[in-house]
Homo-oligomer: 206 residues x 2
């Protein structure tokens, strides 16, 4: 069985739960407490030297340390894998856009706004910077989605799941999604795919 | 023919020249002057709304805006494409590691150390921060390469090219590669692959 090391409230961890649920892949979850520093302790670093979550151990003991790489592996050969070379390249392009321009802005803005709001005042300037850069990136995504239903190719794929993880909870980071109508329509499309699950479980502690 | 929009001295642009040369793909280069602000002007934003280089236009007019996505598309079906689902996932994992932990530290440290050294003093604290974070990431890469010849799978692939672009010139950003013997040995392996070309042309103006 697959083992997913995950933390509560993480969009990157939710992506993996969503794809495994939609593909009917059995797994067990080991919860890791990032807030208390568990990912920086020797026990966890022995499991994942990068000290990050999510972290996936496959039934054959091989491991994957990057959420979007887990999506690629888990969806391989399924309807959720982009098929043509160009659609695969678009998936890579938007997965990197997500990890360099969406997640690094939405995730910390959301963290200090909704997950540990006690530190919101202390982080006010940083939150404004994340929100400014995040808005620019969301507008690029909105423009990309204006003339298409899904992020890469003509059907729902792991490229959508990669982007959806944080973008659909961007409001929790102070982003007004009403400004991005194409993103809002796309969020509704993703949420209506077969075997969709919401982020509720992982958000329970947030 | 493929059109590559590129800037002098960029490791991300060099990756694309390297893979096209190794695969025998014909292309022409349009040079874009990032230093003078050309990527922020309306003319270039009409070509690439993301305002980044490299940018690739395919013979059929479709475009790709992310260097590692270009590698994926261009190498599709060739010996440089990772084959198994796990090797593909490792390529995605290390491409994202490159864009989130190697390039964002090595590239600006190199820029203010070797490309526009006039601003080195002004950026001294930032350079030290990039170098500290870059060293952590290079050590993770070094550990990954200790027991394997190539980044993903058992043969040279686009995952190596993605990482090589900036890592092989990290010394120009003040990184001492002698600290990372597995990286040094891997750099030699990459440089000895068939039809390898050095970064000389793109570095001419740096």
């Amino acid at each position: 069985m697959h083992t997913l090391y995950a933390t509560l409230g993480s969009g990157n961890c939710y992506k993996i739960e969503l794809v495994m649920h939609q593909l009917g892949i059995a797994y067990r979850t080991e919860f890791v407490d990032v807030l208390s520093g568990e990912t920086r302790q020797a026990d966890y670093l022995a499991i994942n030297p990068k000290g990050t979550v999510p972290f996936l151990r496959l039934p054959d003991k091989r491991t994957i340390a990057e959420s979007n790489a887990m999506l690629w592996y888990l969806a391989s050969g399924s309807d959720l894998a982009p098929k043509s070379p160009y659609d695969q390249a678009m998936a890579v392009e938007w997965m990197i856009f997500e990890q360099t321009r969406l997640e690094p802005n939405i995730s910390p803005a959301r963290f200090f706004t909704s997950i540990v709001p006690a530190r919101r005042d202390e982080k006010r300037q940083a939150i404004m910077d994340w929100q400014r850069k995040g808005r620019e990136s969301l507008m690029l995504l909105n423009n990309h989605l204006r003339n298409r239903d899904f992020v890469a190719g003509n059907s729902y794929s792991i490229a959508d799941i990669a982007i959806y993880g944080y973008v659909h909870v961007a409001d929790e980071g102070g982003f007004d999604l009403a400004v991005y109508p194409a993103i809002k329509a796309w969020i509704d499309r993703v949420a209506s795919t077969p075997s969709y699950i919401a982020m509720n479980i992982l958000r329970a502690a947030a």
